[in-house]
Symmetry: C2
Subunit: 329 residues, 2 copies
Amino acid sequence: MYDVARLAGVSQTTVSFVVNNVTSAAISQETRDRVWAAIHALGWRPNAMARSLRTRHSQTLGLISDEVVTSPYAVRIILGAQEAAWAGQQMLLVVNTSGQRDIEQTALQFMLERRVEGLMYAAMYHHEVTPPPELTQAPVVLVNCFVADRSLPAIVPDEVQGGYTATEALIRRGHRRIAFINEIIPMPALFGRLEGYRQALAAYGLPFDPALVQSCHSNAHDAFAAALALLERDDRPTAIFCFNDKMAMGAYDAIKRLGLRIPHDVAVIGFDNLELIAAQLYPPLTTVELPHYEMGRRAVELLQTLPAGESLPPVQHYLPCPLIERESI
Amino acid sequence: MYDVARLAGVSQTTVSFVVNNVTSAAISQETRDRVWAAIHALGWRPNAMARSLRTRHSQTLGLISDEVVTSPYAVRIILGAQEAAWAGQQMLLVVNTSGQRDIEQTALQFMLERRVEGLMYAAMYHHEVTPPPELTQAPVVLVNCFVADRSLPAIVPDEVQGGYTATEALIRRGHRRIAFINEIIPMPALFGRLEGYRQALAAYGLPFDPALVQSCHSNAHDAFAAALALLERDDRPTAIFCFNDKMAMGAYDAIKRLGLRIPHDVAVIGFDNLELIAAQLYPPLTTVELPHYEMGRRAVELLQTLPAGESLPPVQHYLPCPLIERESI
DNA sequence: TCGAATTAGTAATTCGTTTTACCAAAGTCA
DNA sequence: TGACTTTGGTAAAACGAATTACTAATTCGA
């Protein structure tokens, strides 16, 4: 900056005023032009560290995730966060811990040393977490996860609404016997979607038949077996709501194996909206989307609206899971 | 730091020496303990910006990607880069430009202002790019892409070897008539894999039959049709090499539709190793993996070995695509 | 026993900005 | 014409560390 000042024949202060467009300083247009010319001539570029040191604004947000980067499911959290950060002139520092506690700790230290203006702690799938306590040394939002006592603000998908939406979509198309192939490992999604399924049935005056709810591990293979079992019943369901798209893939195989057609004989609806599966299956799979992008975006927006020095109230935000209509129902 | 010094009854210099474990400074163990005690008592944490300003090391790498974050294919580039950065005590600044030129420009400016110690410019799929010229103002590596005149160092997958590996795997299992369903839009992968396919046939003394090479858009639906056409020939192939896993998914459907079995009647091999598809298909799909993780890792390692102030020689690194054996061949 | 080496530390400068406080010249107004 | 305002700047002090050059006290070796 001193070099620029010398070349432009002004003081370093003036250069600073020019590059920052400081309105309170009266600098003639002619001088401004000279300064900019000198800047370009020298190829000078401000040093963000020096600036941040002085202004005490790092213009940086930190994102700590367990396996988010690894999984095609959840990367969109990062995308949403990054685009929102971008809109607020901030950049994103990301660390994927692969679930290792020590990496998590160190990453947190590093981010705090870099004086991030906000922290996001994101999980690959919606579940309870116990993050390191230092997390609260900066404003923080949990994304796709929550702490047991709900003492930290969190943004999570509304599983109940998601289950309701899926079931309702089937009911509206006239289905009365709707099977549900659910996950078997206890997690919020399991309980939430089941609850939504039940609420939707109740809302439309349909009976809840426990025999129509099967549980298995959430992979195509096990879902194939579960679907087969459901379809071989005498009073076979006319629609299957699958806990996720991978399971829907298994259900497709089972339906095709029995010579039945989708959606004419059996309708299928999934969950997750994994483009790779849902759009490639034949017929393309109607499914419910987890609002990953939206969660990332909202998290950043919450952090950005925060007055300096304060931290967010421990509100749990439930984001809706929208229906993605394709051709399987 | 001054507060810590005061509490420990030493100078700020001494605190600095203690926290950085400066060996050239002789500080007694007793003093060290006092300093650390003061640090913990005050909850002091070094300010990375001040440190970086003085040391001129930002401990940061920048990663600019087009759609990498969006795509389940390529996120592993980020993971590999991040883990390597981590090993070198660096953090990753990521920006996904969604292919927008202006975002790319600004992101680059921001990163240069933050004095990143290296830059990576990554593409979602292997293709030629023309990045902004300022890119070279920091040491840079292209990842999964290259410039026309090869004047920038790049790390790309070895498509030829990949095509060779896939074809060879089929030949070794006794297949003599091997079809290839290729991509139709011109790109390095199309030419490279075809070349690998031909080289493998030649190496094993098999004839190249143009009728066995079909081209279509790389989605399951079009590949379904292409596979059907191939399989309805009188001299139908006993194996199909698909340009990617999505297309293999279509080929599976075609094979099953004809009542044939995989791999007994027809073997299938894919490309990409999209876990979501490859592992969920039945039978699980044998495929060739694009070394995304490895490319990210290597990129960072190249940047890290670089002496300060220098830039990398414009070497094009071709990383091998390993065979992932499952049960479809 | 004296000079050299070692031990244990400190004062002051620097990194590259932003920002506050200040100043001189020119213009304005009664 | 003199006081006041506006215009167009500048000097100097932060921001929070790392680092260099130094000192004073102790130990060592011959």
